[in-house]
């Protein structure tokens, strides 16, 4: 991980032996492009976390937290290295799509849209992917209930 890839809006961190980059939304696309040119040619995973119930998570100084965090895992086959990006995203703000740099993110971004409601601008086909088309709501958000049905057991207290 060389200094070239770091720039304004990026805070580097290391945790559990893993390279972490906290990237501001404005520097997101730029950072991913730089990393792609630097050898991180595979976008292995793109997912999100809804920190509604845990807003006080620990982040390095200088990182302003938002409700959602987009987590992007990149892999460099040549260097045998991984790097993880954490991008803070506020509710309702669209995120630039990585599709043009990493075509593998097409399905991943659709899943994040479906499960969290984060929209990606520049995505070729931003529709739901796991839930039925007419579904209401975004299931992995913390304010969306798991949808359990109450089951009565004989002799149970509750």
């Amino acid at each position: 991980m060389n200094a070239e890839a770091l720039s304004a809006g990026v805070v580097a961190h290391e945790v559990n032996g893993q390279q972490l980059l906290f990237v501001e939304l404005s520097a997101y696309l730029d950072t991913v492009t730089r990393l792609h040119n630097d050898g991180f040619t595979m976008c292995i995973d793109l997912t999100a976390v809804d920190y509604l119930a845990y807003p006080s998570r620990k982040v390095p100084a200088g990182v302003h937290t938002e409700r959602f965090e987009l987590v992007v895992n990149l892999l460099s086959i040549a260097k045998r290295e991984r790097v993880r990006l954490r991008v803070q995203v506020a509710d309702g703000i669209p995120v630039p799509s990585l599709f043009d740099i990493h075509p593998s993110t097409e399905a991943m971004e659709r899943e994040v849209f479906d499960m969290f409601g984060i929209s990606f601008s520049g995505h070729p086909d931003l529709t739901r992917i796991l839930m039925p088309e007419d579904w209401d709501g975004h299931p992995l958000r913390k304010d969306y209930a798991p949808g359990r049905i109450p089951v009565q057991f004989k002799g149970a207290a509750s």
Partner: protein, 458 residues
């Protein structure tokens, strides 16, 4: 396959009118007529992957040369279909027999496992993740346990025997998954007897799993801290029995399939993908290796004790379905090689870490000691608390890189548990592999990717 008899027309909302089963229509998720989608989406569905300007222009020219939408037919394959390896729905746009566009529609097995994972403790989490890739359940449990252990900070303290046992089970799981691939791939291509042979061999491995873990599938045996129990006495003989039986059977498969002209004609040159395309699509596992890239997490980012065993990474040349079949067949042999070395090197010792925080007490102690009873109770009902933090750990499953991302808030349940499923990403290769091929080869292509819909949809 069921065909939409009428010409598809675009409604203002972008959906395709279907005469029967309005309830099964998925609207915008389905394959739309060309006039209804953006250029970018059209190119994606036509399998264009690379974004370099010259090849994008070349792709555009070839896609522009496609027939009008009046002359093509959009057909629907699945989700209930004998050859889609589960509930995968594919919509294909055909001109005659040639596939122009392909769109996989998934979600028919979406189980809300990631949401469920947020309400199960770390000890129970294994029961949830194991059902994602149900053909290699131990690998799912392994990656989840490894992620939990990293968060707990005990990943360096897992006993030697536990690591070797985990490796043994993981490799046997790889063998049983690839044997199932042999069976289903054979059946999909018409060698129906292969289905019976593959299952016959798989039964032996499942019987071993049942003896060790108690279940044939979905074992919940690899847990944070080690494993649930030790190997039963006599396990060496059982493993040797499997290792002695398999080579002759695999030789039978070579006769039945590998050298056979029909098999070769059906698979060679079908579903071709190049190196840069595979990397751009983040395909991992046999798909990536079939293009010639030597990337296997067991060798390149070793975990468990893979750096201490000797094995080869099987790589193909042409990136076609035949290479992927041959890679998986040879990987069974490589796994057997690893298992033989494990038999020699298995150390004695603990099968799980002796850390009061995560390890339940031995069952015999519960009757004797009150603390042991309370300790057991706490671990199994409340669960152990995992420190705050987040981690991503990945291992090599039979389908590619399976990763587990856990974000913990310090409580006994994960705050967010996400599994990076290899099949979810590999299915994105389908439009590219199918473009320009015949619809009769569509089944061969799906089969060569070896998707497991449980992990695609989670």
């Amino acid at each position: 396959m069921t065909t939409l008899d009428e010409r598809p027309t675009a409604t203002p909302a972008g959906g395709v009118i279907s005469s029967a089963g309005a309830a099964t229509s998925e609207g915008a998720q389905e394959l739309q007529p060309r006039s209804a989608i953006s250029q970018q989406a059209l190119m994606r569905e036509a399998g264009s992957v690379l974004r370099l300007s010259e090849s994008a222009a070349a792709e555009l020219a070839s896609v522009a040369g496609d027939a009008d939408e009046d002359q093509t037919m959009i057909i629907n394959m699945g989700p209930q279909h004998p050859s889609t390896h589960g509930v995968l729905r594919l919509m294909l746009e055909l001109q005659g027999e040639t596939v122009l566009r392909c769109k996989p529609i998934i979600g028919y097995l979406h189980t809300g496992m990631e949401k469920t994972g947020e309400s199960l403790t770390f000890m129970q989490g294994g029961t949830n993740v194991t059902r994602m890739d149900y053909l290699s359940p131990l690998n799912n449990e392994l990656v989840f346990s490894m992620a939990t252990e990293k968060l707990l900070g005990i990943d360096g303290d897992i006993p030697e025997r536990a690591q070797w046992m985990r490796m043994l089970l993981s490799e046997l799981n790889r063998m049983s998954s690839h044997l199932l691939f042999m069976a289903t791939n054979g059946m999909d291509l018409g060698a129906v007897s292969m289905m019976l042979y593959g299952w016959r061999e798989r039964e032996e491995v499942l019987r071993f799993f049942q003896k060790v873990t108690g279940l044939r599938m979905n074992h919940n045996f690899i847990r944070p801290g080690g494993l649930a129990a030790d190997l039963p006495p006599g396990w060496r003989d059982d493993v040797l029995h499997i290792l002695d039986m398999l080579p002759d059977r695999l030789a039978e498969y070579e006769v039945l399939m590998t050298g056979q002209p029909i098999w070769r004609e059906r698979l060679q040159g079908v579903g071709v993908i190049t190196q840069s395309e595979a990397i751009a699509l983040a395909a991992t596992g046999p798909i990536l290796r079939s293009t010639g890239i030597t990337w296997d997490l067991r060798k390149d980012m070793p975990y468990l004790k893979y750096s201490e065993v000797d094995f080869d990474v099987v790589v193909g040349l042409h990136g076609d379905a035949y290479d992927r079949y041959a890679i998986r067949l040879q990987e069974i042999r490589e796994s057997m090689r690893i298992v033989r070395q494990i038999l020699d090197k298995m150390p004695t010792g603990n099968y799980r870490i002796q850390n009061k925080k995560v390890t339940p007490p031995p069952r015999g102690r519960i009757d004797e000691s009150m603390e042991a009873l309370i300790h057991h109770f706490k671990i199994f009902t409340e669960g152990f608390k995992v420190p705050e933090g987040e981690v991503y750990v990945a291992i090599e499953s039979p389908r590619g890189e399976v990763g587990c991302y856990i974000a913990s808030d310090g409580s006994a349940v994960p705050y967010r548990m996400h599994v990076r499923a290899p099949s979810f990403v590999n299915v994105q290769c389908l439009p590219h592999m199918m473009r320009g091929g015949l619809v009769a080869d569509a089944v061969a292509v799906i089969s060569s990717i070896d998707p497991v819909l449980g992990e695609v949809d989670r």
